[in-house]
């Protein structure tokens, strides 16, 4: 199977799938309440496994295997036929199921509502978290100053 750069509409899907995967499971649970019965058809039950993470020799050379990370995946289908997939970090089956559900719903008429109520809050959380960390690190940046030496006088 060959993988290529996804077309622009897929780029959007890539973005939300990544955001859902990186979300804190508890936060996603707050934003996405349990779906009413009958729920979507589960195509693949939430399953815990691993993914081998690769690095590159010297940061830019050939790949090598760094070690694995835990990942949970899930696939489901809505009544409308929209299929949602999720591969999310960690071992939370609820996280994977909710991420797959949002992925499927984002392909339906509810996309705008979910973007506002789920994706945008997640994006804000993540941006806040990252900015807070980056700002604290930035405050530890060394400002060098050169002492005036005797021969400079």
């Amino acid at each position: 199977m060959t993988f290529s750069v996804p077309p622009p509409d897929l780029q959007d899907r890539r973005t939300w799938m990544g955001l859902l995967a990186r979300a804190r499971p508890e936060r996603l649970a707050e934003l996405v309440p349990d779906e009413p019965d009958p729920g979507p058809v589960i195509l693949r039950q939430p399953e815990i496994g691993t993914v081998m993470v690769q690095g590159r020799i010297g940061a830019a050379g050939s790949p090598f295997n760094l070690g694995e990370m835990t990942v949970t995946r899930c696939s489901l289908r809505l009544e409308s036929g929209a299929v949602g997939h999720a591969h999310v970090q960690g071992r939370s089956k609820d996280h994977a199921r909710r991420a797959a559900l949002v992925d499927a719903l984002m392909q339906t008429g509810r996309a705008a509502q979910l973007r506002r109520d789920v994706l945008e809050p997640l994006l804000r959380d993540e941006a806040d978290r990252r900015r807070a960390r980056a700002e604290k690190a930035a405050a530890t940046k060394v400002e060098f100053f050169t002492l005036v030496r005797g021969e400079d006088r």
Binding site: M1, F3, S4, V5, P6, L10, R14, M17, G18, A21, R22, E47, I48, G49, T50, V51, M52, V53, Q54, G55, R56, I57, G58, A59, A60, G61, S62, P63, F64, N65, L66, G67, E68, M69, T70, V71, R73, S75, H85, H87, V88, Q89, G90, R91, R130, R131, A132, R133, A134, E135, K136, A137, A138, A139, T140, K141, V142, F144
Partner: protein, 362 residues
């Protein structure tokens, strides 16, 4: 003669119950939660993730609790758990150039673009015990904030590249060998060596790296750059036909710049050692890059000085602490039959020796 011996079930059961009680310690002291270990013993968690070769802070914290703080035992638990999980696939190689750095320093370039960012480091602390930590509920100092540098911070060694003073790694996309799937074969390519070292025992890798600094396979290493931070992990999803981010991991990356006067095959230039390890684990990452560089002697046409750190078999076959502790500790388990055979042998040799001496005397 082989005699099967049964017994000890009750002793074992009782020993496990005693272990559980000792693990808990004084019940007058509050029980430690997995979340507390994850948050407050984070460097222990990082070490267990790196050597357990599985990035999952909650699992590593649980393993540390179960192992009563014995980190090698915790690594063992993680490795054992890992074997129960299916592997969904491999990620794309992570791009450490896009790392969101919480620490980034260089020992070679003072004024590197992006600056020297110290981050949460023990460096420059006085290593005096802080008795204020013995009292609980102390007010936390509030870390200062400043405007961060926008965008990714470039790798410092790329500046040396501009002048061609440092060797460049040829990018490639070959499927790397995996020692968790195929038994390690020697000589091992660099990719396999790095996998073995990044999951190897920190103490062992540290000592080997130190030995190179003391002259056993000296490589004149400077830390060109050390960075710690998070990177996104991306994987190709077959059902979708494209790659998505599946999460992010914290990594420590070390690039050493090593003096190299040239050899029969290579011009004088700086050469590189590389370390990349899960979590904030900088001692391990620095040690890894020194050992990586020492093991490259053949490829760079350097002399084999017979140093342990240059001996690939010695390094790679003894770096894994789960293998090492398994073999080491098994000798305490019952070897009654083996030992009985050895005893018989010694008795026989003594009897023969006595008979010979008797004969000679007569």
């Amino acid at each position: 003669m082989y005699v099967a011996v049964k017994g000890g079930e009750r002793a074992i059961e009782n020993a496990h119950a005693l272990l559980a009680e000792d693990r808990r310690g004084d019940t007058g002291v509050a029980e430690l939660s997995v979340a507390q270990i994850r948050e407050q013993l984070r460097l222990a968690v990082n070490r267990v993730m790196a050597e357990g070769s599985l990035f999952d802070p909650d699992l590593a914290a649980l393993a540390i609790k179960q192992a009563r703080g014995d980190l090698i035992e915790a690594v063992f638990l993680i490795r054992a758990y890992r074997t129960t999980l299916p592997r969904f696939g491999s990620s794309r190689p992570v791009d450490t150039g896009t790392m969101a750095c919480s620490r980034r320093i260089s020992a070679t370039f003072k004024d590197a673009p992006g600056g020297q960012v110290l981050g949460p480091t023990f460096d420059y602390t006085h290593r005096l015990l802080d008795f204020r930590l013995a009292a609980e509920g102390q007010a936390l100092p509030r870390p200062a904030t400043a405007d961060p540098v926008a965008g990714p911070v470039p790798h410092i060694t790329s500046f040396l590249n501009r002048e061609g003073l440092i060797e460049t790694d040829r990018p490639g996309d070959d499927l790397p060998p995996d020692l968790t799937r195929e038994p390690m074969e020697l000589p091992a390519p660099r990719a396999l060596r790095l996998q073995a070292i990044t999951r190897g025992d920190e103490g062992f890798i540290l000592s080997l790296a130190y030995s190179t600094q003391r002259g056993y396979g000296r490589t004149h290493a400077f830390v060109g750059e050390l960075r710690i931070g998070t990177v996104a992990v991306e994987m190709d999803i077959p059902e979708l036909g494209f790659a998505v981010e599946i999460g992010e991991v914290e990594l420590t990356e070390c690039e050493t710049v090593n003096q190299f006067t040239g050899s029969k095959t290579e011009p004088p230039q700086f050469t590189r050692g590389y370390g990349l390890v899960f979590g904030q684990t900088e001692r391990k990452a620095i040690a890894m890059s020194l050992v990586d560089r020492a093991l490259r002697w053949k490829e760079l046409g350097e002399d084999d000085t017979g140093a342990p750190a240059q001996d690939e078999e010695f390094v790679l076959m003894h770096a894994d602490n789960v293998q090492a502790t398994g073999f080491l500790e098994h000798i305490k388990l019952p070897h009654y039959v083996d030992f009985q055979a050895e005893t018989e042998l010694v008795r026989k040799l003594r009897a023969e020796g006595a008979a010979r001496r008797q004969e000679a005397a007569e």
